[in-house]
Symmetry: C2
Amino acid sequence: MNLDDKNGTTVQIRSADFKPRRNFTNWLIGKPLQTADAPHQTIGRAIGLAVFSSDALSSVAYGPQELMMMLAAAGMVSLQYSLPLVLCIVGLLAILTISYEQTIHAYPNGGGSYIVSRDNLGYLPASIAGAALLTDYILTVAVSISASVAQIASAFPGLLRWRVELAIVFIMLIMIINLRGVKESGVTFAIPTYFFIVMMYITIIVGLVRYFAGTLGIVANPPELTILAEPQALGLFLLLKAFASGTASVTGVEAISDGITAFREPRSKNAGATLILMALILGSMLIGVTFLAGQVSAIPSEHETLVSQISRTVFDGRGFLYLLTITGTTVILVMAANTAFADFPRLGAITAKDGFLPRQLTYRGSRLVYSRGIMALALLASLLIVLFRANVSGLIPLYAIGVFLSFTLSQSGMAHRWWKSGHLQPDQVKVEQGSEVRYEKNWVIKMFINGFGAVVTFFVTIIFAVTKFADGAWVVVILLPILVVIFFSIHRHYQNLAAHLTLEKYAGLHPLGRHRVIIPIASVHQGTLKALKYAESLSKDVTALHVSIDEDEAEKLKRKWETWGDGVRLVILESPYRLMIEPVIDYVAELSENRSENEMITIVIPQFIPRRFWTNALHMRTADTLRKVLMGQKDIIIVEVPYQVD
Amino acid sequence: MNLDDKNGTTVQIRSADFKPRRNFTNWLIGKPLQTADAPHQTIGRAIGLAVFSSDALSSVAYGPQELMMMLAAAGMVSLQYSLPLVLCIVGLLAILTISYEQTIHAYPNGGGSYIVSRDNLGYLPASIAGAALLTDYILTVAVSISASVAQIASAFPGLLRWRVELAIVFIMLIMIINLRGVKESGVTFAIPTYFFIVMMYITIIVGLVRYFAGTLGIVANPPELTILAEPQALGLFLLLKAFASGTASVTGVEAISDGITAFREPRSKNAGATLILMALILGSMLIGVTFLAGQVSAIPSEHETLVSQISRTVFDGRGFLYLLTITGTTVILVMAANTAFADFPRLGAITAKDGFLPRQLTYRGSRLVYSRGIMALALLASLLIVLFRANVSGLIPLYAIGVFLSFTLSQSGMAHRWWKSGHLQPDQVKVEQGSEVRYEKNWVIKMFINGFGAVVTFFVTIIFAVTKFADGAWVVVILLPILVVIFFSIHRHYQNLAAHLTLEKYAGLHPLGRHRVIIPIASVHQGTLKALKYAESLSKDVTALHVSIDEDEAEKLKRKWETWGDGVRLVILESPYRLMIEPVIDYVAELSENRSENEMITIVIPQFIPRRFWTNALHMRTADTLRKVLMGQKDIIIVEVPYQVD
């Protein structure tokens, strides 16, 4: 490096030296990556489907099952309503798909609910959407991992009692993989996703063939039924409640519109087509699984999943194909959790950049990922797993309400956007809150599509909140406003700070006035003299300060100071109550009150720095204590002059 | 205060302002006392006995009982050996009393084992004595409080299961009382001590009268026998072991020679007379209790104490006199623990002043007591209580070995002192290690008395260590050398430090060379500029340092610096791995390696100081991190320039 340029010049140093140290973390998550290493690869539809659909598709593994568990409260006969309810959910999926297809074209740079709400509705709705989504990403991890452990326990019932531990281990593994940085491309994603799709379709098709051939039996040794509600007659409330449970299946729809930038050009077109393909696969799977569940008389149960029951009936026992299906389902559920690990930190960073969360969330770690967000997610999801004993049915009532709330806000934002668009001249571009709005020909239709989506998802939100309130949705209903208040408190803090520190209309600082230097000394030795020398270099106006709790000691110190004190004024503060810190503080406070304009007070503290850790206990940390007390005061500066002994 | 005197003068300020703040602690332990408030009252023999004898006298409550529990291993018949063994212990008491009487006269300023060993044998024996005594003070508290709780539980068996909790509450109360500061004078001590003495004598005398009258019965409903050793035939080992258990009764003998200064003049004479009186009372009580225990066929038991059994037999049931006796015994045991609370912190302070323990132990708290030592003692004793479930018999094998070791060292020291004294000319005074030795006429006799004491206590130590080794004495045998090693490590640290910092043969510091000032900046705002202004006041040689992880941001900062940077040189460190701290450290390290002679580097860090606690989480604490890393380096000084926003 060139270290000695003249004043007034700017030097730019780029050195390979600024490399992180080798340590355990590097070993665990891989060697650091340069900012320039950030991947700019884009992906096509086939890989795109694999990358973004695991959350959505994996919900086949728990959505219909939760719906049936709820219905079972009205007796086994009521399970006949499963298929109609799932059809309603597939209808909802269709509405969402069409709505989001529009969003993808309007926001080619990525249009998650937070961004769409912020750009079109403002910061308050945006922060509601942000809070809802962040909460739901945590729940996605908890639900998906719990469901994947339930799959494993279906195949190996002996593992049932270890499900919490197993779930935590899964989360830790996913966390480490994500801290290493997952390239959102490549076969890593494609293989498990397509494997799951293939296995599910094989199960469904073989099942249907055997159904039509009349050779499909019913579940042998069915597990114990799990009923989630009090036994009751089938009524509208229970139907709505079962429907609400099932909506967990469509929560993954937003993923693609979040990640449009990852697609190859024309990216909006590719992303849109992928979304539609995903919806078709998801819809057909939901219908297939629910239909077969009815035909094989599968029992919704905590002890064995629906997928496991169907599969072992279709394939006649726990054979090779059965195990492949369970493996595929388990892996896709883990992948779904993995999606949240990509989305949560990214949304956290966007929100933090807007000043609603701590700025630290915008810094990328050594592997170019938002490490703090990843670790926060793992921690919070693990906490939920422990609290709910890795029980999917316990978590479901908290899940989905936030997703549907953010759907509603996002769709409302889009509808509002189309309305604005319609009121522009052709070729006119309006920039509002950083986003461009152009005139669109078919704005009325588009507005109605998104508006309809908003209304439907709003009703689903209300249904969910009402029917699941007592089961746990109340937690989210209380939590979201609290989160929004926290977001705005943080935002206000940053804004306030920026306003106070801005250089706009800033006249510049007054020149420094008198510079008073105080040096508290406990005794006179080489360390003290070094600090004294330094103090004298700062100002001609130095005062040494000794707090005396023993007259003889003070007298000795005074004599020593006459020899070594360099003529510097010594003030001895007698401390009748044997306090060491308080007299210094009082003295400084008095100086501070009586100071002249722009007078600066610097306190130079000689501080012994022990070489060994344990010797810390043998010394007073006067400098630390003084710093803590005086740090909050204006124009008082603490300088620690360390002395070391070898 | 007069704040503006000229340079080169010394000002002494004594201000009532340096008063501690009002807070919870003050409320709990009382308002602060000035150093000048230290009590200088002295006490006579009657009060002196009360103040210093509680430890010794209270051992009547557990000494004979532990001895009998041990004997009971060879059957109830072997309990007939209790009285002979107790007579041996009283003989030991006599030897100790005569020995210590000599010490009291030789050390009119207080002659505890640590001081006597230090002055006559050197630091190693002294530190062994110190370690042994400190350990035993902790055990005194644990044993006395456990025994006092056992007394209460004898009267109210329902409290037996709460004994650990009760013991901890007692310790906390004694701690608070001692933090308030106990005046070692006055009736506070006299009432309970004399009350106990009176009640014990009433019990013993009434018992003896009834014995001679032939109306003394035996214990009704005796408690379950507790045997501490495997059933075995009576042999020498068991007899010695029982004797060792009983020696717990003479551990309190040193108290008076520790506290001679508290006595009225002629203090040595008064203190010596008090010691002899105490020994007489203790000896007669031990004999009386053991004799009566045999006559009433008292059963040594964990569930009811010997004193309780004797008392309810002598007084025919749990009546008023019985309750008074139990109350007196409980209170004296608590007082005994209290004695340790006076001695432990004082010995800690003496040892710390010699540099064997952290210096902080020499500072007196707001109530003029060594608060740190008091709190340490309470903590350690509570720990023992919890570990041993407040069981006296479990603690006894750890107790007394340390006391007898320190007795041995102290007596050896005294013997050595007489020997030195005999080799002086009459009227010659020899000062060795701070203590004066004068010629004494009867030095040979005195030497033999102390020498005999040393030999006897040495054998008791060995008997104790051997017979109790497996029961727990091994803990102390291992602990003591470890403590001594720690003492000497601390001592070496302080000595090493003093040698390095001494101003003897010190030529003075070189004048400061170049003074380079580095100011790391993340962005340019009012806070940064304030720090810049300050940096410029320190030296003409200022460099601003920006770590860049984003090129655009760096470009913006560069332009801002051109306007606001006061012509100060700006170095931009590009950090390809997005590290913030490491590039600064590397840069400083390179500067540091290449610096000229006596060059000083000061790092001025603008640091935002949040007004509210929670906002801390919204900012990086760069200054703290840099300080931690750079503090250990020579001639690098960290200055934090705080900026606050209202």
